[in-house]
């Protein structure tokens, strides 16, 4: 015999976002209106950016004090407020959002979890799936990009959410009472009122949800590759790119060809110190930085670049034979970890000149050891793609994609090369030689590639290779 007039509201938030303050405003307003109201929470250390919840019950005034719940119950939540999309979905998956009852007021923006951020490559969940789950299981979902609305209003997100909640009319307290609660709370009142009004005015709808980037067509990619390599080196180098691609056109499926074009462009524009200097000198950069750092007109923006080229990066600029000898010497003396930490202030003349000097080495690049090694790798890789394509097109596609293991600078780059070596020696070559069961070719390369991407420093790749080898032994034994 629960009184239907009791309103049950669950707030899903992340620590440090002001969820407690939001709950406080609602309770303050309801109390001022004479309602029976109770709020509770489980902040604990979750306030340090972890997921947390607040729970509020409100009942009409009068009578004896009702017995209110301290825990939300599945199927009994009238309103879910979620300040972030995944946290809304988390509440859905916990059963708190039900189609017969729950109004969701939430945000479409994402604050990525640690697992999504730490994955090498793209570990983000599909925002569209999260959103559709929230929409499907709620009675009605009022969703908007609250973070963007807050930024536009120059306010905190919790005030914007309060405004959106007020706009739904679901609360048994009028907007004026909520405004008074913000004023009574007394902290950052102007900003919070601004946020509240912005929230009232938010038009929920099809705010875009972050999703994986769509793949572009092959022609588009080749054009982008040509442009990039012309800028990276020169027109001749871009022509080399075209020439390298040519034998694969028509031989690979169209999407595999597009992927090859993409990876080849990236590998040919490998990241060396010269390239970095080049990028950091881009004219458009300062304005972009100033906007992102929210500099006001009249402010001066200084940029200090963090550079730490190691011996490998510096000595690989030498001609191949000299460079190899120098690197061997460094290795023999255990100087491999020595490096030149530099903080270059590019908005000052001296720093700017240093970068200009480095970028100017571009003409020298084709004569460098690094260039020779990168080109050899590329030639080997293309040959490998060719050989694998002859036996298994799906596996060839995986070998193409596996080029993404090589990227970045310093340790990241070195580790990428090691992981590539492991993958080729542990899986691709044994497969080609028939030592491992070929029907698993594409799958094995993919598993290895994903393992190395998700956990580049860990031993997941080694485990996958060991697993594939065991599979091979079993098959042979059988």
């Amino acid at each position: 015999m629960t009184a239907p007039a009791t309103l049950r509201l669950l707030i899903a938030a992340m620590g440090g976002e002001g969820g407690g303050v939001l709950a406080g405003w609602i309770v303050e307003a309801a109390t001022a209106e004479g309602l029976w109201v109770q709020r509770t929470s489980i902040p604990g250390v979750a306030q340090r950016t972890g997921a947390t919840t607040y729970y509020i019950e409100m009942a009409p005034p009068g009578g004896i004090r009702p017995v209110m719940a301290l825990n939300p119950a599945p199927g009994e939540v009238d309103v879910l407020v979620a300040t972030e999309l995944l946290e809304a979905a988390r509440m859905v998956q916990a059963g708190y959002v039900t189609p017969d009852r729950t109004l969701v007021v939430g945000s479409t923006h994402r604050v990525y979890t640690m697992a999504e951020k730490t994955a090498g490559g793209d570990g983000r969940l599909d925002g569209t799936a999260l959103r559709s789950q929230v929409e499907r299981f709620s009675r009605h979902a009022v969703l908007a990009d609250i973070a963007a609305a807050a930024q536009d209003a120059g306010a905190q997100a919790n005030a914007v959410v309060l405004g959106m909640l007020a706009a739904t009319g679901v609360l048994p307290v009028p907007a004026t009472a909520l405004r008074r609660a913000i004023e009574a709370e007394g902290r950052a009142v102007a900003g919070n009122i601004r946020g509240f009004e912005a929230g009232l005015a938010v038009v929920p709808g099809s705010a875009p949800v972050p999703t994986a980037t769509q793949a572009a067509g092959a022609a588009e990619i080749v054009a982008a590759g040509v442009a990039r390599l012309t800028d990276y080196q020169d027109a001749g180098y871009a022509q080399l790119y075209r020439d390298r691609l040519a034998p694969f056109e028509g031989r690979l499926a169209i999407d595999s060809f597009a992927e090859l074009a993409r990876q080849l462009a990236l590998r040919m524009s490998y990241e060396d110190t010269i390239r970095v200097a080049q990028l950091k000198l881009a004219e458009s950069r300062l304005a972009r930085v100033a906007a992102e750092a929210r500099a006001r007109p009249g402010d001066i923006v200084d940029i200090t670049e963090y550079f730490k080229p190691g011996p490998e990066e510096i000595l690989s600029l030498l001609p191949p034979s000299l460079g190899r000898r120098a690197l061997a010497a460094v290795e023999a003396r255990g100087w491999g970890r020595l490096a030149m930490p530099m903080k270059i202030r590019t908005t000052r003349l001296s720093g700017f000149l240093k970068l200009r000097l480095l970028a100017g080495l571009r003409f020298w690049r084709p004569r460098s050891l690094r260039h020779a090694e990168e080109q050899r790798w590329i030639v080997d890789w293309l040959a490998l793609v060719d050989r694998v394509q002859a036996v298994d097109a799906a596996a060839a596609r995986e070998v193409i994609e596996a080029a993404a293991l090589l990227r970045g600078y310093g340790d990241t780059w070195k580790r990428g090369r090691e992981n590539w070596r492991l993958l080729v020696d542990g899986i691709v070559e044994p497969m080609l030689a028939g030592r491992l069961p070929r029907r698993h070719f594409a799958d094995a390369v993919m598993q290895a590639r994903l393992a190395a991407t998700a956990d580049p420093e860990g031993d997941r790749l080694v485990q996958v290779i060991a697993g594939v080898e065991r599979l091979g032994q079993k098959t042979v034994a059988a």
Binding site: M1, A3, T31, T40, S41, I42, G44, V45, R48, T49, G50, A59, P66, V67, M68, L70, N71, P74, A89, R90, V92, G95, T98, T113, M114, A115, T118, G120, G121, D122, D126, Q133, F137, P210, G225, R262, E271, T273, K280, V289, A290, A293, D299, I300, D302, T304, Y306, K308, R337, P341, T347, L353, R356, A404, G408, Y409, D411, T412, P456, E457
Partner: protein, 703 residues
């Protein structure tokens, strides 16, 4: 000074007769203490009871007026020992801490307190850190109440009942010469509600009205043989009956529902609201708690009054004990009472409800439904609801929606402790893994991704002690992590003194962030002394040196390379014995609270202010995210790449960045990548700034 300001709450503590208090449960307890005429209050901070002490520290003036002594104890043992004032003197006192951990630490003093018993009421307010949101091992405070003969209150989680239990708890304590524990679960500590207040009471004896003479010598007040044998007998012969009498006569427990029936329920007070909600679904109660089954609500869960239990159970076919956690102390006690009375009422409890885990609405519903089904009591509404819960779970499973990654708490943006763990992770590649003894405090977040390190957690300030034997069986020296909170709580003696005494060959990393941060940024002996706080500026390195630690280094945590070099030296040094690294870096939460308003004001006043933050060059970033795996900073995240050839998201520093510089340091120390840049925004630049800037621009434009 604590993380949250309690100015408004301090005002609420001043409310008098006939006014209405609005606030959280733990604040209501605080107000109830003042209404009960306490002479002293102490405790050790910890969620969910930190605010009790925090607000009293902020209410210094008012406490002085009332003559209440407020002690910020250095650990729970100190707090429990403080209750010793009530052994000889008719003064009421209360202490607070987080349980079970705090009660464990306090156990020795509690035993020695309860043996002689108390003259003045002694109340121990514990936050029962159990179930969702808990941060400690899952055990029951109940065990301590049983073994030390302490009475245990577990009030219905609404403010008037909580307040009544505080007030009657003191009376119970005095009526039975026994210290009383008031247990509040996490949600009850934070439950916001209201109650009608009374005037605060100034104690007869207090800091304002002092006793002229100390107590006369009375061997009977000592916990020392031979009187301990008499005390043991006194506990059961006199104090226990007195307590039972008080509980029954004063109606501390509550009887709801009809006088008779076929089945009844005995429930811990703290669980009543969850129970009521589910019974309401079954049509056996409503939102005003108008129960259709005889129900006994135990606001006192120890001791039980056998006559009350038998009176309740007589005539019932069966009784359900609703008791959270293991072991089933109440069920055992009720069973024994029924047996002794030769009552044939069937006993249910952990046979239908789970032995372990929180009694959430769904868990409660399944247990209650099983009990009701057994006795053919109509509960269709409850069964329907459970059916809907299950159907919903099936529907969710059928959508094939992705499993959601957890969102654990982590180091705040700019936290000074994160760089130490970045350094350890980078160093691991070079020298291999080491055994890491973790501890309690913010640094325990390093057990989560992306650091995922720590082999044991043995208690607050216990890391070094927990590695004593590890060091003897490992080739590489173990590293113990300890916060300044843990250091003063326990680690100085159990850890450092012990390691020095035994010449343990290991490494201790002390995070000196200036506060007890995880519990809400309270002051410690080593906190910087200032106008508002309690800090005394005691130097940790000096304390360690005084104990005779042979090898002490200080590092600035944000200098990752420096931390790595020092740690490497500590691990590789041929010198034997304890190596202590004091890692200095102020808690960023505390720092930002101070710096941010000051900076905003300076900017508004037109002063030159340099705001620093970091930035990732999206053109240079290749989307490998090594930097994130070595930092985990909340402000270091990812965003879609604008490069048409790159599909993976690039690293991105959002505007929460406080410019601590860790990401730059990490990219240097790990030789990661040159995408990081420091941005200094000079607000209200000086004329010299402007001239230099313009000149540089002009020359660069020419080149």
């Amino acid at each position: 000074m604590a993380e949250v300001s309690f100015k408004k709450d301090v005002e609420a503590l001043k409310l008098g007769q006939g006014e209405v208090f609005h606030g959280e449960g733990i604040m209501a307890v605080t107000k109830a203490l003042l209404q009960s005429g306490v002479s002293y209050v102490g405790g050790y901070q910890g969620a969910p009871v930190s605010h009790l002490l925090d607000v009293l520290v902020d209410a210094e003036e008012m406490m002085a007026e009332l003559g209440v002594r407020v002690e910020t104890c250095t650990n729970e043992a100190a707090a429990a020992a403080m209750l010793g004032a009530s052994i000889n003197y008719p003064v009421r006192g209360a202490v607070t801490w987080k349980s079970i951990v705090g009660t464990n630490v306090a156990a020795d003093a509690l035993s020695n307190l309860s043996s002689p018993g108390v003259k003045g009421g002694a109340l121990i307010v514990v936050g029962e850190d159990y179930g969702e949101g808990a941060s400690v091992i899952q055990e029951r405070t109940h065990a301590f109440a049983l073994k030390s003969s302490l009475w245990l209150l577990d009030p219905r989680p609404e403010l008037p009942t909580i307040v009544r239990m505080v007030e009657q708890g003191f009376e119970l304590s005095e009526a039975s010469s026994t210290p009383v524990i008031l247990e509040l679960r996490i949600r009850a500590c934070h439950v916001y509600g209201s109650f009608a207040t009374k005037d605060n009471v100034r104690a007869t004896w207090s800091a304002r009205d002092r006793l002229a003479e100390p107590a006369t010598f009375d061997y009977g007040r000592l916990a020392h043989p031979p009187v301990t044998f008499h005390q043991e007998a006194d506990k059961v012969d006199r104090r226990l009956p007195a307590a039972r009498r008080f509980i029954v006569e004063r109606g501390l427990n509550e009887r709801f529902g009809p006088a008779t029936g076929r089945v009844g329920i005995i429930v811990q007070g703290g669980l009543f609201n969850v129970l009521n909600g589910r019974l309401a679904l079954a049509g056996l109660s409503d939102d005003r708690g108008d129960l259709a089954l005889p129900t006994l609500v135990l606001n006192v869960t120890h001791p039980l009054a056998p006559e009350q239990i038998t009176a309740f159970c007589a005539g019932l076919d069966a009784v359900l004990i609703v008791e959270e956690g293991a072991p089933d102390y109440l069920e055992q006690a009720v069973g024994q009472i029924l047996r002794h009375a030769d009552l044939q009422t069937r006993l249910h409890g952990k046979d239908v409800l789970p032995m372990a885990g929180e009694y959430t609405p769904v868990v409660m519903a399944r247990g209650v439904a099983a009990f009701l089904a057994r006795y053919d009591i109509d509960h269709a509404g409850l069964a329907d609801w459970l059916g809907r819960v299950d159907a919903q779970a099936r529907a969710l499973a059928g959508t094939g929606a992705p499993a959601l990654p957890p969102r654990q708490p982590t180091f705040c943006t700019g936290c000074p402790e994160r760089p130490v763990f970045s350094a350890m992770k980078i160093l691991k590649r070079e020298i291999g893994p080491v055994h890491v003894a973790a501890d309690i405090g913010c640094h325990a977040f390093a057990t989560f991704a992306p650091f995922s390190q720590g082999n044991t957690i043995l208690g607050y300030g216990m890391s070094l002690a927990s590695s004593a034997a590890v060091a003897s069986v490992q080739q590489r020296r173990p590293v113990s992590i300890m916060g300044d909170g843990g250091f003063w709580h326990n680690g100085l003696l159990t850890g450092v003194a012990g390691a020095v005494l035994n010449r343990d060959d290991s490494v201790l990393m002390i995070m000196n962030n200036g506060y007890s941060s995880a519990t809400g940024v309270q002051d410690l002996p080593s906190s910087a002394p200032n106008a508002e706080g309690r800090g005394r500026g005691v130097d940790i390195a000096a304390a360690v040196r005084a104990l005779g630690a042979p090898w002490i280094r200080r590092v600035r945590t944000y200098g990752v390379a420096g931390v790595m070099a020092t740690l490497k030296e500590a691990l590789r040094s041929p010198e034997k014995g304890l190596k202590v690294i004091v890692a200095d870096g102020e808690c960023q939460l505390a720092r930002q609270r101070r710096v941010r308003p000051a900076m905003a004001k300076a900017v508004a006043d037109g002063l030159r202010v340099v705001r620093t933050r970091f930035w990732v060059d999206p053109d240079v970033c290749t989307g490998d995210h090594s930097c994130i795996r070595l930092s985990g900073c909340p402000s270091l995240t990812v965003k879609p790449s604008e490069d048409p050839l790159r599909r993976d998201p690039v690293a991105h520093v959002n505007n929460d960045c406080v410019g601590c510089g860790l990401c730059g340091e990490v990219s240097h120390a790990a030789q990661l990548c040159p995408s990081f840049a420091q941005i200094d925004v000079i607000q209200n630049p000086s004329r010299w700034d402007r001239i230099r800037h313009a000149a540089a621009r002009a020359v660069m434009a020419l080149l």
